[in-house]
């Protein structure tokens, strides 16, 4: 049993690396191609992704979702991170998003943040902390059955806003909440 499992895990690891290098460019090309031809249907997009993945022998459930956005996570400023994740579109302030976080966080290493939204067809919820070395904390890709709700714990270097960016029906919406941090959670 163990011998049987080991090659799969190594194979999966290889797949993951391969996937991260190849797929973003591939998907971008595919996306722009579809966009210019004005046939950007969500179902069609997914089907094409799966077809491409199947062709490359990489058919796993993760194919439906985008690959880990390395550029967005390594961006040092909030606008850069947002740009890398979502392109040039600017998010609109929305009252349909609630960011729940403590007013004062004693320990910046563990700040519980909860994002709830009543917006329809939520595709992605991302959480940013602009003062952190890497402002993008987490990005959650939702499927059609997932509610517009997510809770997580993030680190905060110092007092700042926690910004949530929600992608709904292809449009970006945002809301924020300021959190006072008395002990930073990113340094030594």
């Amino acid at each position: 049993m163990l011998l049987f499992l080991l090659p799969i895990s190594t194979w999966r690891h290889f797949c993951n690396q391969f996937w991260e290098e190849i797929t973003p460019t591939l998907l971008e090309e595919l996306y722009s191609m579809l966009k210019t031809r004005r046939i950007l249907l969500k179902a069609g997009m997914t089907a094409s992704c799966v077809a491409v993945a199947a062709g490359a022998n990489l058919l796993t459930p993760r194919t439906v979702f985008a690959a880990w956005p390395k550029q967005a996570f390594s961006a040092k400023k909030y606008p850069e991170a947002l740009h890398a994740l979502n392109g040039k579109r600017k998010p609109i302030d929305s009252k349909a998003i609630t960011v729940k976080a403590p007013d004062i966080a004693e320990n910046g290493a563990v700040v519980s943040v909860s994002v709830t939204t009543t917006l329809p067809n939520v595709e992605n919820i991302s959480i940013f902390v602009p003062v952190n070395n890497f402002p993008l904390s987490a990005s959650y890709e939702m499927s059609s059955v997932t509610d517009g709700f997510i809770t997580g714990r993030i680190k905060m270097a110092k007092t700042s806003d926690v910004i949530a960016v929600v992608k709904s029906n292809g449009k970006l919406y945002t809301a924020k909440k300021s959190v006072k941090v008395t002990l930073g959670g990113c340094g030594g």
């Binding site: 563990v110 070395n133 904390s137 959650y140 809770t151």
Partner: protein, 104 residues
């Protein structure tokens, strides 16, 4: 293989709430070892995949800004009590782990 995770999932009014904790150091790569003064290398979870049956329901993409021993909670519809929910993760060093829980 480190594979420590706690998952709780239950159905209430047709919606399933999931709460999970993955035990992981989530090192940012910016922290110094106080004794040696050397930087502790970055070691954090990059992706967490949640599946109900064969269907992927949530894909979390995390950076080093997520706290140590990350907590995750979300809701989804369409599951029954007794269904299985699988959560699997991969970190930046290529380690991975997964756990399956029964929905209550």
């Amino acid at each position: 293989m480190a594979n420590k995770m706690k998952i709780r999932a239950w159905v209430d009014n047709g919606k399933t709430t999931v709460k999970a904790i993955i035990f992981h150091p989530m090192e940012t790569g910016m922290r110094k070892n106080k004794k040696t003064g050397k930087l502790i290398p970055a070691h954090y979870i990059t992706e967490v995949k949640c599946e109900h049956g064969n269907k992927a329901i949530l894909n979390c993409m995390w950076g080093p800004g997520v706290s140590k021993n990350p907590f995750l909670s979300f809701r989804f519809k369409g599951a029954k009590a007794g269904d299985s929910l699988k959560i699997s993760w991969v970190d930046n060093k290529g380690n991975s782990g997964s756990s399956v829980a029964k929905i209550k």
